[in-house]
């Protein structure tokens, strides 16, 4: 799958409390959550984000609370994927489980600025910076994760497992 979008760039340790503050967790509807996505770190985000846009950050993106509301809010806001130097582990699981693609690529993060246009090929992990004419390759997923992703997330994967168990 090919994704195209503009970059919203952040620094290190972006935590799930700023991605979606707890004051909005009395609901779990992704569209409602998306109205407040990134509010405490970037007031402009909700107004500026376009379908297909890409979030980029440095290290430990998504640290803190395990709230799945965080990747759900990001996904519902129209973001097509997140590229970072590294992700916090619960956020990583949550995003993969719900089908929000994450890519780890130090060079792409180092060489990209906010507002740059990217083209991302999820199957090959190739990240093209169209604004700067540069190409990078993300770290490949381990086999198991690739299987989970191609199944369409954890729920679909679990359904398939349960069916094969019964056979």
């Amino acid at each position: 799958m090919i994704l195209n979008g503009k970059v919203h760039k952040y620094g290190a340790d972006v935590n799930t409390d700023v991605i979606i503050p707890a004051r909005y967790l009395n609901v779990s509807d992704p569209a409602e959550l998306a109205k407040h996505c990134m509010e405490d770190i970037d007031r402009e985000f909700v107004a500026e984000v376009q379908p297909g846009d890409i979030i980029m950050a440095t290290t430990n993106f998504g640290c803190g609370s395990s709230r799945e509301h965080a990747p759900l809010a990001i996904k519902a806001s129209g973001i097509s994927c997140i590229i970072a130097k590294s992700f916090a582990r619960i956020f990583f699981r949550n995003a993969i489980n719900i089908g929000l693609p994450l890519l780890e690529c130090e060079e792409a993060v180092a060489q990209t600025e906010a507002g740059d246009l990217l083209e991302v090929d999820l199957s090959s992990g190739k990240i093209k910076n169209l604004t700067r004419g540069m190409t990078f390759t993300a770290k490949p997923y381990p086999d198991f994760m690739a299987e989970l992703i191609s199944a369409g997330g954890l729920i679909e994967y679990t359904k398939q497992r349960l069916i094969s168990r019964r056979l």
């Binding site: 340790d13 935590n15 409390d17 640290c63 799945e68 916090a88 198991f144 359904k159």
Partner: protein, 419 residues
């Protein structure tokens, strides 16, 4: 193998597992709360199995926004409650509950050698009892409720050795804040932390819960302790089923070994807006506070309340400070009442609440306004964590929070209790 590898191997039916390996581990307990359960239930229903794999191994606790603060949160709690009734899973109602990570061990639901997954990042708390417990998201919990197992990547283990004897007013909270300050919020990313050494042997179980609770604040998957006599004593009156005690092998491989001598360690404070922004209390400077919160899954146990009461006894909370005390469970509340601690708090001018997460996540019962400062015994001080994005949270032990509540500024217990 390390302690963590031993537990995972036993739950995977393998002789041996190694860091980096993907496994499917059998789970002994699955947890969700009033925030994470609604999504987990929705996803569980999509799987289409109808019934959870074993209702005795699923527990749901309303603790974040309860007693419910508004209609929306009441709807979420209702959805969870009805699912629990229908499925027959373990459920604790308001008036009988506690903050999940205080409640579950206290009720004997978590035992050594268990694999526990919870849709809450502080599920790692149970590592204090020698269990492998880790936080996940709602979808993970949904899948595990259907199958009884979950995919995991075996983490490498970092061994942390604490030498020496802790000074007065220094405990588990100070050890873990100091450690996170040293290694950083991603210092143990994707890893297990194993806490050892003579200072750990001397630490109470409550102190160990506090340390394991904040392993996630260093990015760790789990924080574990070996089972000793103190653990056995804690478990003895609570366990209603058998359990296994695992020990690391003598030749276990650790990805890192970190050693500290903590004899001279001062009480620690994490300044805004990161738990790694830690300083010894003598270097914090003059910081006035508006609120002091004592409680939470980090420091809401009996020992924590005893410590706070020791400092607040026959003293008054500063006229400009709101001091809010949240016992971690109904049992802790009752024990504190019997010991006279609740009377001490109320006479000092503190507000005592029914158990709830409340202010810890900026939910209710003590949300901060613009520009307000709070000293708190909780575990996170991110921007906006306790309310306004323009408020500030300082993390510390119950002793430091109680002393600061009296003085109206962040201070060491030494200033309040003269020897």
């Amino acid at each position: 193998m390390t302690l963590v590898e031993k537990i995972l191997a036993a739950h995977t039916g393998k002789e041996k597992v190694s860091p980096g390996e993907f496994i499917n581990a059998r789970v002994d307990l699955i947890l969700a709360n009033d925030i994470t359960a609604p999504i987990a239930i929705r996803e569980f229903q999509r799987i289409g199995v109808g019934k959870v794999f074993d209702p005795k191994k699923v527990v749901m606790v309303p603790d974040h926004f309860v007693p419910n603060k508004d209609i929306a949160s009441a709807e979420q709690a209702k959805l969870m409650r009805e699912f629990c009734y229908e499925q027959g899973v373990i459920y604790f109602e308001v008036g009988r509950m506690g903050i999940e990570h205080v409640l579950l061990p206290e009720q004997g639901l978590v035992l050594p050698g268990d694999v526990v997954i919870g849709a809450d990042s502080h599920t790692c708390t149970y590592g204090a009892l020698g269990a492998l417990a880790t936080g996940m998201g709602s979808t993970d919990i949904a899948a595990a409720m259907a199958t009884g197992d979950i995919w995991m990547k075996v983490p490498p283990t970092i061994k942390l050795i604490y030498h020496g004897t802790l000074g007065e007013w220094v405990g588990g909270k100070d050890l873990i804040l100091f450690t996170i300050g040293d290694i950083g919020v991603d210092g143990a990313l994707y890893s297990a932390m194993e806490f050892t050494g003579e200072a750990i042997d001397a630490l109470s179980i409550d102190g160990r819960f506090t340390m394991a609770n904040m392993a996630i604040e260093a990015g760790a998957k789990v924080g574990v302790f070996r089972v000793d006599n103190k653990t056995q004593l804690y478990i003895k009156s609570r366990a209603k089923r058998s359990y296994m005690v695992y020990e690391p092998d003598g030749d276990a491989e650790y990805s890192q070994v970190i050693e500290y001598d903590v004899s001279a360690l001062e009480p620690q404070v994490a300044l805004p807006h990161s738990p790694a922004n830690t300083k010894p209390i003598s270097q914090v400077g003059d910081i006035e506070i508006n609120q002091a919160v004592i409680g939470s899954c980090t420091n809401g146990r009996l020992e924590d309340l005893r410590l706070a009461a020791e400092i607040l006894k026959r003293k008054k909370v500063h006229p400009r400070v709101r001091c809010i005390i949240l016992p971690g469970s109904q049992q802790v509340y009752l024990d504190a009442l019997r010991e006279g601690l609740i009377g001490i708090f109320i006479r000092a001018g503190a507000a005592v609440s029914t158990p709830t997460c409340g202010p810890c996540l900026g939910g209710h019962m003590g949300v901060l306004a613009d520009g307000e400062r709070c000293i708190s015994t909780t575990n996170r001080n991110f921007v906006g964590r306790m309310g306004s994005p323009k408020s500030e949270v300082y993390l510390a032990s119950p002793a430091v929070a109680a002393a600061s509540a009296i003085m109206g500024r962040i201070t060491s217990p030494d200033e309040v209790i003269k020897p």
